[in-house]
């Protein structure tokens, strides 16, 4: 167990180095830089050139990369050109929002997936099952951003049940109970929008697993022993079917990263996803590279978590 983890973590290091190199080179290959937007005759071109020089943008990419990576290793991710604040602080500010949004999404995803998956698997080929699988097909086909816009339009604007943007009402004071409730209120709709889409694969997995397990010999044995239907499903089928789902948990985290980028932009929810898109369009390199690196690490760690869970629940693949 520990051996596996240590081994995986050691493999992670070159992965992250290669990732950082790739990210950096791709970022630099994009045309323009943070100062391109300053096409403004009132600013002396010499001043812009001086600023480029000061930011090191005129150095060859490998020099810039070395400068960046050595500082990053010391915990200094640099300064955001547009926000004029340290990248670490900026991301920290946004990460809190994204963290809560992702957590809420995960909880909602499983809250939706498990009952639907069970119903669908247990009563397969009934009307309920058809409705549920119908929903999953629509969910697979519907792009996340369309669903999010629809949800925003219907529940935010038409019914007015939810706030339509931001992470908290203007003017609330941090720390109070109302503040916390307000924050939860603000993230419900975006989290639900995302959960409705991300949940469909989990529903399908669960359904297949249950249908599969239902026909296994040990279930027939259990039935033959006279176990009640309730007991068969809860003790035998469900337990066995949930294991692969648990293993997918880590990959779920990776999926959330892509999702939050859309959701945060549609709901004007100031998290890392929104920051990421902004930093790309405006060539705020320091923010962009730091975020890609973070996302990369999150994805790698997510895969690691999945593997670990899998090795716990399924001793067959455990490395001795």
């Amino acid at each position: 167990m520990w051996k596996l983890m240590v081994r995986r973590i050691i493999i992670m290091i070159p992965q992250i180095v290669v990732l950082s190199l790739l990210v950096f080179m791709l970022a630099k290959a994009m045309p323009g830089d943070a100062l391109t937007g300053l096409i403004d005759p009132s600013i002396d071109p010499a001043a812009i050139e001086a600023m480029r020089e000061r930011l090191g943008l005129n150095n060859p990419w490998y020099v810039q990369y070395w400068d960046w990576i050595t500082r990053a290793l010391q915990g200094d991710l640099g300064q955001s050109f547009f926000f004029k604040m340290p990248v670490a602080d900026l991301i920290g500010q946004r990460m809190v929002n994204t963290f809560w949004l992702s957590l809420a999404t995960l909880i909602l995803t499983y809250l939706i997936a498990i009952p639907l998956g069970i119903v669908s698997g247990r009563y397969n080929d009934t009307l309920a099952d058809r409705l549920i699988t119908g929903y999953t097909y629509v969910g697979f086909a519907a792009p996340l951003f369309i669903t999010a816009l629809l949800m925003l339009y219907i529940f935010g604007f038409q019914f007015g049940w939810f706030p339509t943007g931001g992470s908290v009402s203007p003017g609330s004071t941090p720390g109070s109970a109302e503040y916390v409730i307000d924050k939860i209120y603000h993230l419900l709709l975006p989290a639900l929008s995302m959960a409705l889409i991300t949940t469909v694969s989990t529903v399908q997995y669960l359904r297949c697993e249950i249908i599969d397990t239902k026909q296994k010999d040990f279930i027939i044995t259990a039935r033959a022993k006279g176990a009640s239907e309730q007991r068969v499903y809860h003790r035998h089928i469900l337990r066995n079917s949930l294991l692969p789902i648990a293993a997918l948990f880590g990959y779920e985290i990776t999926g959330l990263i892509g999702g939050t980028i859309f959701i945060e932009n549609i709901f004007n929810y100031p998290g890392m996803g929104q920051l990421f898109l902004e930093s790309i369009t405006r060539r705020d390199y320091s923010v962009m590279t730091a975020l890609v690196l973070l996302y990369g690490i999150a994805a790698i760690v997510g895969a690691l978590i999945s593997d670990i869970i899998l090795s716990i629940v399924d001793p067959r693949i455990r490395i001795k």
Binding site: T36, I146, L150, G156, F157, G165, V168, P170, S172
Partner: protein, 613 residues
């Protein structure tokens, strides 16, 4: 089930279309009031959805820039201001450090300029400070009004004004403001280079009076070339210059002397204000203001539900569908901008810092350029793509500068027959019989045309121009480029792409009319790389001492506009307008410059915003 599914699908399809239509908004254009010359308006060909019916044309003449007053204003009340942006605001909340337009929208509520200006962008005596000029115009004496105080009660002093200059001129300053406006102050260069500890051209006469001496005296000085924002020395005085822009005094609890005080800030998404009872013009009507960031995709819904009363801007492509919205009044102004088509006539000499015209360029023949202008029907473009909210442009000084825009100059009108005739006479004839004209020397002529991507109609628009030129027998090849690549190749760094002949861009012009920054011999942003003796002369005359005489200056700029119509280094295609909705309950509100309506007068006629029926 199938029926329900159909309904869902239709709804999704409709949404997809709306999304596509509004995904590119106008947020790219940074339009800050402080800036006094040109700024790039990024989306040259932005974004209008084509409408089926032809009668849906609008005209900017039908819009007022002032909100009509209906009903009685309440005492107090709160309004919500929507900052329309698809990005979070940066939060550099001080005029001396900010750089993005979103931050300027937040700043305007709690801080302001010492000097206000009239509709011709000339400084007036109505602001928090008044000014007098010396006989020769080089020395300005400013007097700050006695009752102008910072939000913490400290008086705003001449010391604070000087301090702003010292910070911006400091080598460690990290904002974008240090430029020609500052180097034009006597002693500023020496201070900036560390040769002097003080700025010799700025003298403090007493607590409330300040004198600034300028090197070059031009009429542009009073149209935005003075730095009119103080920096509170009692707050920032002990701070390192490099740390100021990221300090909590800028980001978390900013201060100013405007009509409202910042109460709370949620970084990147909202700000609340309460009224500043001590405001120098008088106590504001409203109790407070809430500002929140609104995505351009949802701004219509926010307006309809009364979620916002006012917005910073409105995506113009969504206007035709919402022109009848019942709970708002639409205000409109002529935008300080124009779209244009430029011809590459030379290159940039980085060493000398000047343009080098090249008579061998493909489009160096003025007849060719003139024919290309004759060939395009900008009125049709404006009506088909922009519902009349943009219109045919004639000269390079847009009508947003009514004093200087020459209305009598028709530019060059749409006339393809004339275009063909000009080309025939100039020797551009089709000798190979492939349907395209060759150069007078008989060589093949392929003109490379670059345009920017962005928005749904960027490409159809560019294709329309290519088509128009094909119609007069010119072989034009289109290259659609992303913003950054586009300006790299057009030459924002001075290394122009020599294969490029024609490009479509846009400029948003500053409040000062002087076009030297865009068409001067030494201007890097003179992308056509055009220069001529006559152009140099007129541009210099326009900012000479003689030009202090308004009539003379008008005359000069009329001549310059005519020169540009004759020489055609670029030709303007469209002028633009800007429309914004205001909830019907709002009173005393106006957009644009020199309206004489100030934010402290803002009032509402009912407690709650009106909702669309």
């Amino acid at each position: 089930m199938t029926k329900a599914m159909k309904g869902v699908l239709t709804a999704m399809l409709i949404l997809l279309l709306t999304l596509a239509a509004c995904s590119s908004d106008d947020s790219a254009t940074t339009d800050d009031e402080v800036d006094d010359s040109g700024q790039d308006a990024e989306n040259a060909g932005d974004d209008e959805e084509e409408e089926a019916e032809d009668d849906g044309l609008f005209s900017i003449d039908d819009f007022s820039n002032m909100k009509a007053s209906e009903g009685d204003a309440l005492e107090g009340g709160t309004i919500t201001f929507g900052l329309v942006s698809d990005t979070a605001f940066e939060g550099t909340l001080n005029y001396n450090f900010y750089s993005g337009n979103p931050d300027a929208q937040i700043l305007q509520w709690f801080d302001e300029s010492f000097l206000t200006w009239d509709e011709n962008y000339v400084y007036t005596q109505d602001g928090a400070a008044t000014y007098e000029t010396s006989e020769d115009g080089s020395v300005f004496t400013f007097t700050i009004r006695d009752n102008v105080n910072w939000h913490d009660g400290e008086p705003v002093t001449a010391e604070d004004w000087l301090f702003a200059h010292e910070v911006i001129g400091h080598p460690d300053y990290d904002g974008p403001r240090y430029g020609s406006d500052f180097t034009n102050i006597v002693g500023m260069d020496e201070y900036h280079n560390g040769e002097a500890d003080t700025i010799s051209g700025i003298t403090i006469l007493n607590d409330k009076q300040l004198q600034i001496e300028f090197i070059n005296v031009t009429p542009s000085l009073v149209t935005g070339s003075i730095w009119t924002y103080p920096l509170a020395k009692h707050i920032f005085g002990d701070m390192e210059v490099a740390d100021m822009s990221s300090s909590p005094e800028v980001r978390e609890h900013p201060t100013g002397f405007g009509p409202f005080k910042v109460e709370t800030i949620v970084p990147g998404e909202s700000v609340t204000y309460v009224k500043n009872e001590d405001y120098w013009r008088g106590e504001p009507n409203l109790d407070g203001v809430i500002l929140k960031v609104v995505n351009p995709n949802t701004v219509v819904q926010e307006l309809q539900t009364g979620g916002v009363d006012l917005v910073s801007s409105f995506p113009v492509d969504q206007f035709p569908d919402n022109a009848e919205m019942s709970n708002v009044e639409w205000l409109g102004i002529v935008d300080r901008a124009y779209t244009y088509i430029g011809f590459k006539l030379g290159s940039w000499d980085g060493e000398k810092g000047e343009v080098v015209p090249d008579p061998d360029k493909k489009v160096a023949d003025v007849n060719l350029r003139k024919a290309m202008w004759h060939a395009v029907d900008n009125t049709a473009v404006a009506e088909r793509f922009y519902h009349g909210l943009r219109w045919n442009a004639t000269t390079l000084i847009p009508p947003s500068h009514p004093e200087f825009h020459d209305e009598t100059n028709p530019g060059i009108t749409f006339d393809p027959e004339q275009a063909k005739q000009i080309l025939d006479e100039a020797g551009y004839e089709d000798v190979t019989g492939d349907g395209f004209r060759e150069t007078p020397e008989g060589e093949e002529l392929v003109i490379n045309f670059a345009s920017m991507t962005g928005g749904d109609i960027a490409e159809p628009l560019a294709r329309y121009y290519v088509q128009s030129w094909n119609n007069i027998g010119l072989n034009v090849e289109l290259d659609m480029l992303e913003f950054n690549t586009f300006y790299d190749r057009v030459g924002q760094n001075g290394d122009d792409d020599p294969t490029l002949d024609v490009y479509m861009g846009a400029w948003s012009v500053g409040i000062d009319v002087d076009p030297t920054g865009l068409y001067g011999r030494n201007a890097l942003f003179n992308f056509p790389r055009y220069a001529s003796e006559e152009n140099d002369r007129l541009l210099a005359e326009g900012v000479s001492e003689a030009a202090f005489d308004l009539e003379y200056r008008k005359e000069i700029y009329q001549q310059w506009q005519q020169l540009m119509v004759e020489e055609i280094p670029v030709f303007p295609t469209l002028y633009r307008s800007e429309v914004v909705p205001v909830n019907n309950r709002v009173q005393n509100y106006a957009i644009g410059d020199g309206t004489g309506v100030y934010l402290y007068e803002l009032a509402v006629t009912s407690d709650q915003p009106l909702v669309a029926e």
